[in-house]
Amino acid sequence: MQDVQNQKSFQYLYEVETLAQDILTDKETKLDLSNSRNKFREAFRALQGVEDRRTWMQMGSVFVERPTEECKRILLNEIANADKDIEGLDKSIKSKLHKLRDLEHEPRLEGFTLNPISAAEAKALHKAFGAV
């Protein structure tokens, strides 16, 4: 058994599998974050139509009553946090994917590390080349 763990192929498989599992976990987390971001947004929209000065909010398993304005602020804050976390996850998934492709001896995905061109420039290109 000791022998197997030191074998090169085992080491290789271990590395590939860990990295791939990491990517899957990140994707899962991103999904959860995205889901909660949607829920926060829905809540925020609902509060915008409310006239009451104070609102009940469920935080974990506790209900608290706070002024509506403060509730809105909390929600906006949460949405911004989720945005930031998703952005970070996107980046980490990307770098991990590059690493995984390297490990699996697949060709590098070129060009995905570039900064995007502006929307106006993209529109001009699409106009010239048709919908790509």
């Binding site: 995205s34 949607n38 790509v132």
Partner: protein, 462 residues
Amino acid sequence: MASAAAAKIAEVRETTRVERIGAHSHIRGLGLDESLEARHVSQGMVGQMSARRAIGIVLKMVRDGRIAGRAVLLAGQPGTGKTAIATALAAALGHDTPFTSMAGSEIYSLEMGKTEALTQAIRKSIGVRIKEESEIIEGEVVEVQIERPATGVGTKVGKLILKTTEMETVYDLGGKMIDSILKEKVQSGDVITIDKATGKITRLGRSFARARDYDATGQQTRFVQCPEGELQKRKEVVHTVTLHEIDVINSRTHGFLALFSGDTGEIKPEVREQINGKVAEWREEGKAEMIPGVLFIDEVHMLDIECFSFLNRALENEMAPIVIMATNRGITRIRGTNYKSPHGIPLDLLDRMIIVPTSPYEEKELREILSIRCEEEDCQMSDNALTVLTRISKETSLRYGMQLIMTSSLIARKRKAAEVDVEDIKRAYQLFFDEGRSVQFLKEYQQEFMFNEEDAIEMDTS
């Protein structure tokens, strides 16, 4: 059951490859191993080991993309695989690296100047990689609710419920979005994408879950799977365009029309300068990567002295591609002058180039190539016939030998034989003259031809 499957396979074969067979269509790459050593027979390439190794190094140079503006000359007798090596390089570079192939005489056109044609060819060989990013919302419509005010005027309000296999959420809609939803006739069960930046709604099709077996359904209805993952996605697309393509777009107001009509004409230098500036700006902002590609000029001795001096200058540019030229000429007149020079190329340009010679094929290699061609042209040939054909190719030329493959295979098919035999080759050899016998024939029967002048037959090859 088995016969049905067989019929299906035959069908697939028929539809997938309708490509025509060209002289170099059997080449799939340079046939090098990881250490850039040439394998004797690989990827359709045979022999020419040293030339292939040399081009392998050029390939590495292009892939790394660090060195621009180098010139390589492939020099060798006719039929020694110069174009084959260039084709192999193009295949090995892959689709992402621009590869432009032109013949030297292509630059002489009435529509544009020689230097313009060369500039376009050079700019066609330089790629720019850019990335486009867009945030989209993609999902299956669960429900659309649109409330119109009772009076008929005023703002409309609405709700859109979207779902993927993982999540579901409600979006409040503003007046503009409601208009585009009404315009696209979005209803529950459609799969749509919304571009966040522009608010453009696109219908991808109907969800499979809503597919019903009605007798009367529109033909255009396309059924798609309910999307997976998040509703809000970031889409990144990487495009590779050549500098010439960007030039063309910007030199015409209706750029895309010019692209497809093929009539691009000359492009103003100001436009080129603007493009260069823009691309330099993109590079500085990390928005674009340059991909120096390869420009291949076959029959380079057909260029004249002006083109050569232009090339000299163009190679100095930092955005120049790697230029590969091929020629089968020895010491000959430089076109446009009375001076003679090796390969018909001025010495100063020759000095800038690295020269890769190709040498005539050995008999064993000829046999290898002919058998590869037989396979490519779907022709069964017996061993003896292949030996005879190799002999013929050795004595006449490889090209003539390759011509005999198809002709003798047709002769064999006429006598309903499964494979080509020696007699078919003999018959084809009698029917079709090679260059040597044709010359001999002319010499013998010169008197009987028209307009025949003794000793005035010297072809001007410059």
